[in-house]
Amino acid sequence: MLDSGSHDSERFEMTHSLHRRGSVKDLHEDYVLIFYTSKGINREGSDEKMKQFWHVLSHYEQDLVNFGNHHPNRSGGEPYNMEDLKKAKSQMNMAVFKDVEKLKACLQEIKERDFGISVVVSGLYGETKRICSEIGLAPHTVNLSLGIHGNKKKLPEEGVLEIHTMCGHGVVPFNLILEMVKEIKAGKTTCKEAAKKLSRMCDCGLFNPYRAEKILQKMTATK
């Protein structure tokens, strides 16, 4: 199946990009790149490398659908300002690609820069393995999603779930997505604007507004 900021406290994020849902076709437009320092090993003294990461990412800025660090982005759904990120202190940086080939090019550049900071790719494993192989890397460790369990009667329709799981912190509420669907159908907003409004809720820059817009288009298409 698989082959198909502002303060200095420690921040441990866990798996907040792992459980993104959607068909294999749709997930082809959703890859998260995470640049992550480890406490007591390579976090201390990593400030310059974390900033340099953004210099590399700036070569792909037009290919990114979102990006950020762990400091909240309050810019009304607009992406972070990359120039600000280049100056920011951070323990974890993230970027979302919609094109795996652009991700590959970026990953190759990161490899060549030899930062020594852990790099994680969240997305289709078959594609991740392929691009790794093409640039001389091999997957080191994987985190598999074994799905959702328990009282699944509490879950909404799949389209809502696909949008919601783009923010692992769960702060893009089911009802807000449904409200956006209602507003789009009533002609009060567009799918693009609605996706931006939903993206605003995600503090980390992990939400994929490009894909959310497409899902909203499907959910609101007149049959």
């Binding site: 921040r11 993104r20 997957p139 985190n143 328990g150 509420p173 009802n175």
Partner: protein
């Protein structure tokens, strides 16, 4: 979170921003105003700074005392756990496994992400799952802030005073030898029928030299279907952990 009824105009704009549907319209002094159900609210802050939606600034965050404060610590991504000075719900897990060696070959990492996606969880449901896992001899990750809520990690019993609390999500995290994984996963499947909420399940494996992922076949044997998307550490961290 609370709403100042004197200020609230009853516009209901804040309602869809609540991930746990805790905001409702009530009648108060012959007016329709919004109120936050304190039993349901997980203190995530969505209705306040994340949404910035209230036109009259009626929503506010009161000072939270223990144990209610844990709601914010586990539900608001920007809140800090005061006892650990950490943020977030988990650990570094596999993101830095190339430099930490936290998950060597032969060992799987498992995370039960209670309340996720989007439903939220009571601490009683978390305890139900934790006790079922503890009966299997599972040892919970000490660095995970959940460990601070347990009265006895050996039994999975939580502190009495936290059991009435509710959070957006919380992670039960542990490592297990691969030869014990199937039984533990089956137990997780069994206990999933005894809770009122949902959870997302993670399985972490160090990739074998031939590219194999041993936990995949074990998970399938236990009745789970790994999804096609994963998180993959691509091994660029240094200094690389020296494996035995």
């Amino acid at each position: 979170m609370r709403i100042d009824k004197e200020k609230c105009t009853g516009c209901e704009l804040c309602h869809p921003y609540c991930p746990v549907e805790a905001i409702a319209t009530v009648e108060w002094e012959d007016e329709s105003v919004s109120e936050i159900d304190q039993g349901e609210c997980v203190e995530c802050g969505n209705c306040l700074e994340r949404s910035g939606i209230c036109p009259v600034e009626a929503i506010y965050r009161p000072t939270l005392e223990w144990p209610r404060s844990l709601r914010e610590h586990f539900s608001n991504p920007n809140a800090e756990h005061p006892s650990t000075t950490t943020m977030g719900r988990g650990t570094e897990e596999m993101k830095s496994n190339d430099v930490t060696g936290r998950y060597p070959r032969g060992i799987s990492g498992v995370a039960v992400e209670m309340g996720r996606p989007g439903v939220g969880t009571s601490l009683r449901d978390v305890e139900t799952v934790a006790m079922a896992l503890a009966e299997m001899g599972v040892e919970f990750e000490e660095e995970n802030p959940v460990s601070l809520l347990m009265a006895d990690p050996k039994t999975g019993k939580f502190k009495e005073e936290v059991l009435g609390e509710k959070v957006l999500s919380l992670i039960l995290e542990f490592k297990i030898q691969n030869d014990r994984l199937e039984r533990v996963l089956k137990r997780i499947g069994e206990v999933s029928t005894r809770i009122d909420t949902v959870f997302s399940l993670d399985l972490i494996n160090r990739v074998e030299p031939d590219g194999g992922i041993p936990g995949m076949a074990i998970a399938e044997k236990a009745g789970f279907s790994p999804r096609p998307n994963t998180k993959t550490n691509v091994g660029l961290g240094k200094p690389r952990f020296r494996e035995v």
